[in-house]
Each structure stands twice: as C-alpha cells, then as structure tokens.
Symmetry: C2
Subunit: 152 residues, 2 copies
DNA sequence: AGGCCAGTTGCAAACGATTTGCATTTGCAA
DNA sequence: TTGCAAATGCAAATCGTTTGCAACTGGCCT
C-alpha cells in the first residue's frame, strides 16, 4: 500500500485545525475508525448523538462499530476535542469543541440546538459561586422552549 | 378498623401542606405505598434519588417495591408535587416542589446540592430567549464546583 | 358490612444508553 | 519486517428506569 494515501482515502480535504496531529502527539494511535470519526467531527457543526455519528461513520466505512464510536467520543472528550451534552430526555449529544464557550437553547419541537453566550450571566454565576464559597469547575445552562408564535 | 387512623399509622404528624388531600381531589387513590412515600416527601429537604427514597420507604414498610417508588415519583412529578433533576453522572434526584424556584450548585466532592436564586440571571435568560424568538418552557442552570480552599 | 372492579401493586422481564471482557486485528516503532 | 501494546468488533454486562401481567385493594355503591 502507498505510504500516505491509503486505499480508501477518506477525503480529508477539510480546512480546520488538525486533530490527527494533535492526537498523534498526545500519543494516540491514528487508526482507521478514528480517521473516519475525526473526519466526521471536522464536518460536524450540529449536535449529533452517538448513534447519529455511528450512522455517518458507517456510510464511510461499513465495519465501524458503535462501541468504537462511544470509545472514541470519550477519548476525544478527554482530549478536549469535543463536548458532551446530556440534554433532557435523550441520549448524550456531542459538539466540536473548537469554538468558544456558549450555552444552549433547545427547541422542544424540533430538538434543534441554538447556541448563545451571555457574559453577564457568566459573571453572575461566578459571583454567586464566590458568595457560596465555591470554585466553579463547569456549569450547565440550558433553556428549553418553543418558537414564539408570531403575535403582534 | 377505625375510620381515620388505620392500623399501622404512619406518623403523619408533619405540619406541611396536605398532599394526600390534594392527590385525593386529583382523583388519585391513597394507597399504603403512596402514604409512605408522601410522608417521606414531607420530611424531605434534601435531593434523594429513587433508590434512596426506596430505602427510606422500606424502613417504614418492608413490602414496598422500587417500581412503585418510580411510578409514584412520576405521578407526583406530573401533579407538580416534586421536581426531578438529572444532575451529571448519576441517577435522577428529586426534591419537594413546594418552595420557590431556584437553581443548583452541586458539590463535586460530596454530591451535596446547594440551592440559589438570581433574579438577574432569570431576567437575562428571558431576554436572551426573547431575542432568539423563543418562549422558554423551563430551564436548567447548574453550577458544578468544589469548596474554595481557604486562601487569603 | 360486604361486594365490586378499575386503579395499584410487586415481580421479573424489557428497555435504551453506554460500557466492558475478550479474542482478534492493527498501528507503528524498532 | 517483525513484535507487541493499543485498538477493534462483537456480544454480553451494566445502570437507571419502565412495563406487562397476574394478584391485590381502595373506596364508592349498595
């Protein structure tokens, strides 16, 4: 087999930050399943769950197993490449961790996730933790709602 | 058996609001397992999970089953008597719904839950949802942290 | 006081999401 | 190229929770 481009070349044309190299230097082996999942990660700008990621992966490589998706997502989470969210009433969903911090508004009708950020809220949270004598490790702010019916 | 006090009287001395009557009028049967769980509910000022509630219940009545605890908690939740919280990495935990709205700070070392409320944050959330064109159904704000090491 | 019967129960099995043991592959450093 | 630890696929296990079902029981109705 050719040195770099292996037989089923996984169209790695995406521009983004190079996770493969990052992982490489973190001492993680770049296996075929991980290549596939990383490619999906790079193209991912939504919040899919493990099963959805698995389905996308299978489209590229039949032989990938759901267990490996779970294992890889856990690995990527530990490495800080993805964030895991456990929204109400459903499996955990993942998102690319490259952007900056934000919270989520979940559309109860569609499941769609809208990201937002409020520096004021962040500040208030910090202040509250201070008053209670705590250091915040992380937090979770989720708004669950529905699109406002037209009105006025 | 005497009219009101049945044979194994479940020490219903607590002061609080009378859920039994509330449930009664909601057309729900007051069975023995429900009596026991309601008593526990009244004394409950922490955030126990189903298993913990089950254990407390068994102390009063050997024969109660975990399934009934789950069923009853679901019922009470629907009736608005308790709130269910799914904090990170653990089973759902319940709390008495009588107090006023608050959010939670979870102590990562002990699992202890501290309640807090910030009208400013509530307002900001509302404002954000407005801007995004959504009506908030409910929200979830959880701070995860550890007690601040003395310092200064 | 007794009966009736839908509402409830306990039990065990089913569930959905996620993890894990194990025997088999596979990166990749030497 | 070989060697071996790391990673995989598979199936079985786990955890929290729900559910089917047959047995039981509140509590309204005589």
């Amino acid at each position: 087999m050719a040195a770099k481009g292996n037989k089923n070349d996984v169209s790695l044309q995406a521009e983004g930050r190079d996770y493969e190299t990052e992982l490489q230097s973190a001492g993680v082996r770049i296996t075929r399943p991980r290549q596939v999942i990383l490619t999906i990660l790079k193209e991912m700008n939504d919040h899919p769950d493990a099963m959805e990621i698995f389905k996308r992966a299978v489209r590229v490589d039949e032989s990938i197993s759901l267990a490996t998706v779970y294992r890889t997502m856990k690995l990527l989470e530990q490495l800080g490449a993805v964030h895991r969210h456990s929204f109400e009433g459903g499996p955990a969903r993942f998102e690319n961790a490259d952007g900056d911090h934000h919270d989520h508004l979940i559309d109860l009708d569609t499941g769609k996730v809208i990201e937002f950020h409020s520096e004021s809220i962040e500040r208030l949270q910090q202040q509250i933790a201070d008053e209670l004598g705590y250091d915040i490790e992380h937090h979770r702010l989720e708004l669950y709602g529905r699109k406002r019916k037209k009105k006025n």
